[in-house]
């Protein structure tokens, strides 16, 4: 009885620890070096001409991620040339979620013809630092001098199920605001998604 209470307390503490971490709008975002599906290592600082980066935590297995694949490709195509390329990061532990293994990421990126890097967060460190809690989960970064700052966190748009019924394109609006030297509004939204599958 006592032991199960202790386990309960510990699990609550570990949950609050995971969720208390992470970036808020305005924070400086750390660079990373993660392996892309083409075998190269990708860093944010590789994007010399970028005005910002659309970091999207997404994965193979999550139905909500799958619903957004085409929209993420469209986002990259539309905004890469305006200085805001997409960088997709797969956050899940492949032991817990084999569909999200590096090998399966390569297959999915080819099938869908991803136009953007699809990076594996091996060890899940960057996912923790950013505070991604679900897939898909967007962190829109703006480059100021040579550093990146978080300007928007949340959903891609306001209708996961049906692209035709989208009323607010949150990420596009946020990028457009940054391109016009304005603050994104809203700068934080929520959406249903899959939990991050943490290694045990």
């Amino acid at each position: 009885m006592k032991r199960s209470f202790l386990v309960l307390i510990l699990s609550i503490l570990s949950f609050s620890f995971i969720y208390a971490d992470g970036y808020k709008v305005g924070d400086k975002a750390t660079d990373f070096s993660l392996k892309n599906v083409d075998g190269t290592m990708v860093r944010m600082n590789d994007f010399e001409d970028a005005r910002g980066i659309v970091v999207i935590f997404t994965c193979n297995h999550c139905p909500y991620s799958v619903l957004y694949e085409d929209r993420i490709i469209a986002l990259d195509k539309k905004y890469k040339e305006k200085g805001f390329p997409v960088l997709a990061i797969s956050p899940n532990d492949p032991v817990k979620q084999p569909e999200d293994s590096y090998e399966n990421m390569i297959i999915r990126a080819e099938e869908k013809g991803f136009t953007f890097p699809y990076l594996w967060d091996e060890g899940q460190r960057i996912t923790k630092v950013y505070g991604a809690s679900r897939t898909p989960h967007v962190f829109l970064l703006e480059k100021v001098d040579s550093e990146y700052f978080v300007r928007y966190i949340g959903a891609i748009d306001d209708n996961s199920k049906s692209p035709a019924d989208v009323e607010e394109k949150f990420v596009e609006n946020a990028i457009n605001a940054l391109l016009a030297n304005e603050k994104p509004d809203p700068d934080f939204t929520k959406a249903i998604g899959c939990t991050i599958k943490w290694a045990e």
Partner: protein
């Protein structure tokens, strides 16, 4: 309009009072679900947001069913709010209910404005599922992520009203 809303509300509450069968899954928008979520009284409610596509949700379902079996004859009610799309009601949700012998109430929440209603369920909810809310008039608990039989059992045993 007001009368219409009242009738609707009474109808929904009536459906619950009568005890709907598992195969009868109402499809509600958030405005219709909200009074059910906020119904704090003597009864201890376990409200779990889940989906058939969500692995941790599916994994904890047998534990939820054991809890429902244990407490359902007391002042207790379990409500499972499915995040599956309405188009999957017949093809995925109902077959899952039958396979798992789910005898708790199941509601399918069909409301795309997630960014508007997630905070109304709980401000700490990031949007990942599963979540579990346990409450009665004196007690409130919220968890994002998996929950076990032992945790549920302890929380409910301590807080269920006589």
């Amino acid at each position: 309009m007001k009368t219409l809303r009242l009738i609707l509300l009474l109808f929904i509450l009536g459906t619950f009072a009568a005890g709907i069968s598992a195969q009868n899954v109402p499809v509600l928008n958030f405005a219709q679900l909200e009074p059910i979520l906020n119904n704090r009284n003597d009864t201890t409610y376990v409200i779990n947001f889940w989906a058939t596509w969500c692995k941790p949700c599916v994994k904890e379902m047998p534990d939820l069913m054991k809890i429902n079996q244990k407490f359902k004859n007391r002042k207790f009610k379990m409500i499972l709010v499915s995040m599956d799309f309405d188009i999957h009601l017949q093809t995925k949700v109902i077959p899952f209910i039958n396979e798992q012998n789910i005898d708790a109430d199941v509601i399918l929440l069909n409301d795309s404005k997630q960014h508007e209603w997630i905070n109304k369920v709980n401000e700490d909810w990031t949007g990942a599922i599963p979540i579990t809310v346990i409450h009665n008039k004196e007690f409130y608990f919220f968890r994002e992520g998996e929950i076990t039989f032992d945790e549920l059992n302890e929380l409910i045993t301590k807080n269920i009203q006589q």
